[in-house]
């Protein structure tokens, strides 16, 4: 650790040039420039709206056109003679009851799609939350201590390549119950990118910030909360984002095997009952939920790390 500090300190002066930024604020006048006053009461000129419309059209139109094209292609292929898979129109007719009534509950496994998804999300929430806590904790340990890194890193590198489902039998044996096993599979799937990214983030904390902390004599806890966490936050969040994606990938497979309520078992159940349209609908939902989970973590990350990227 010490030698690392010295190595980096040795390069002081070299390679630390920052682009010179011209100071604009020395004169008080410069910062009092108010935004140009709008002549009050005049409605925004209609050109603004048409321009906005055009701008949003350039964003919205391409995906709409491409999606429509693929739906059409699918419709045509699935309508041809001898086609096995249902066409989109067929899917919608078959699953209309499921689509318009997502919250029904006839007991047992026979519940609406919303309940199925929520059951899966609940498992993901538990497993992912555990992975976040343990992953950041271990990541900090590995990032801080060279000894811990040397000891744990080989283990991590091997374990992280084990496919999620390979953990399921052993966790079923250990927990003797299906729900905790599924949660464990989520946990063990999501934790690796969180550990690895957190430790990289901690190792990459700028020597400048470390020096500031040393001059201020921050103690361990202050250093952790004031320097380490904010400095590593961008890395941590990229780990969290990969983690949530993997967790959602794993839950469907895990649920197929453990049964009960959940979108994974719903798909498996539909396959056993030869209800292909139900499977297609479930896939659409799985994709959309996965997309929103990813966006959610990205947005939280963007909000939390605002400002930290600056030099």
């Amino acid at each position: 650790m010490m030698s690392a500090i010295i190595d980096r300190t040795m390069t002081f002066g070299a390679g630390r040039e920052r682009p010179a930024v011209r100071e604009t604020s020395t004169a008080p006048v410069a910062r009092q420039t108010a935004p140009p006053a709008r002549s009050g009461g005049v409605p925004a000129d209609p050109g603004v709206w048409s321009r906005r419309l055009r701008n949003s059209a350039t964003v919205v139109l391409p995906p709409v056109i491409v999606t429509a094209f693929f739906l059409l292609l699918w419709e045509m292929m699935a309508s041809s003679q001898g086609a096995v898979l249902p066409a989109p129109s067929q899917v919608i007719t078959d699953t209309w009851e499921l689509i318009i009534n997502p919250f029904y509950d006839y007991g047992g496994n026979d519940v609406g799609m919303a309940w199925q998804l929520l059951a899966s999300l609940e498992r993901v929430a538990y497993g992912y939350a555990l992975a976040v806590v343990a992953g950041i904790g271990l990541g900090v340990l590995v990032g801080q201590s060279t000894w811990a890194m040397r000891g744990l890193d080989p283990l991590f590198q091997v374990l992280r390549t084990v496919p999620p489902l390979a953990w399921l039998p052993i966790s079923l044996a250990a927990f003797q119950a299906s729900n905790p096993s599924a949660i464990f599979v989520i946990f063990i799937t999501a934790i690796w990118p969180i550990i690895i990214n957190t430790s990289v983030g901690i190792r990459n904390i700028s020597q400048d910030y470390v020096n500031v902390a040393r001059v201020l004599r921050l103690n361990g806890l202050e250093y952790f909360t004031k320097i380490m966490l904010p400095a590593a936050a961008p890395y941590v969040f990229s780990g969290l984002r990969i983690g949530i994606g993997l967790a959602w990938l794993a839950i469907v497979a895990a649920e197929m095997l453990i049964g009960g309520v959940g979108i994974g078992f719903f798909i498996w159940d539909a396959w056993n009952a030869s209800m292909l349209s139900d499977i297609v609908l479930a896939l659409v939902y799985v994709g959309l939920v996965g997309f929103f989970l990813d966006r959610l973590v990205a947005i939280v990350g963007k909000w939390v790390t605002r400002g930290t990227q600056a030099g």
Binding site: G13, R18, N211, L216, T305, G311
Partner: protein, 266 residues
């Protein structure tokens, strides 16, 4: 001889065995309270190393640094540093960056209200009261360095250490901040140790200029006393014969007697 800050026969070697490189050899310097000292030399002469040793960020190989009767062994708020690239924490606002230093330094001695007031006062001193709630990425390079100076001053250090504080700024901003530092130093009477490679900056600001020989194994080549009355006026100095004489002295040292090793090779 007892001076406020003494750097006593400091040697510094990085690494061990065949790859070891001796950076400093027998650096010996005595600074009085309230003095403004510049350390000047070519790149790679170890002037930043001297500063980092005084800051406690680096340990000496042999020799010692004694400040106000106590040996320096680790970093501390009595030797605050203005880093070349400001080193503000980008996730904190201007106010919070200074408050972090103030709260840490004066936890036991000042009340929360006094500390808050002191933060505002130091930021006012460097002319940054208008940007209290801005983040570092929202202000210019010169302004960041002002905040860096405010943070260092707010700790009321025994010695203010500045590591090429204006090196990353354009010439106009640099001149402006030099004037500010002169004004603040004459108001507060700080003891300052500044590393620079700018001859004009050294002559304009300093009481004494420490000129370092080229590395490896650099040491103090010569110390030039700048006997010009303070406050010094940048414009008046341009035509001042004495000032130009001092300036020429430093230039002669740097470019005749201790040529840049790179230009010699060329």
């Amino acid at each position: 001889m007892t001076s406020y800050l003494s750097i006593e026969h400091v040697h510094k070697t990085f690494g061990e065995g065949p790859t070891a490189s001796e950076v400093l050899r027998d650096v010996d310097l005595h600074v009085d309270r309230g003095e403004f000292i510049s350390i000047i030399g070519h790149s790679g002469c170890g002037k930043s190393t001297v500063l980092n040793i005084v800051a406690g960020l680096l340990e000496t190989s042999t020799g010692a640094v004694i400040l106000d009767g106590k040996e320096v062994s680790k970093p501390g708020p009595d030797r605050s540093v203005v880093f070349q690239n400001h080193s503000l924490l980008p996730w904190l606002t201007v106010r919070d960056n200074v408050a972090l230093a103030v709260d840490k330094t004066f936890k036991g001695t000042k009340s929360a209200a006094e500390r808050r007031e002191w933060v505002l006062q130091t930021l006012d001193m460097v002319g940054m009261s208008h940007a209290l709630d801005k983040r570092p990425d929202e202000i210019s390079g010169g302004m960041k360095q002002r905040v860096g100076i405010a943070r260092a001053l707010a700790m009321e250090p025994k010695v203010l250490l500045m590591d090429e504080p204006f090196g990353a700024l354009d010439a106009l901003t640099r001149a402006h901040l030099q004037d500010e530092v002169m004004r603040i130093q004459s108001e507060l009477g700080n003891t300052v140790l500044m590393v620079t490679h700018d001859v004009d900056e050294a002559v304009l600001l300093s009481d004494r200029i420490v000129m370092m020989t080229n590395g490896p194994a650099a040491t103090i080549g010569e110390i030039l006393e700048i006997d010009l009355p303070k406050p010094r006026e940048r414009l008046a100095m341009a035509d001042n014969a004495e000032y130009n004489h001092y300036r020429a002295e430093v230039l002669r040292f740097l470019h005749e007697r201790h040529k840049n090793p790179e230009s010699e090779a060329a």
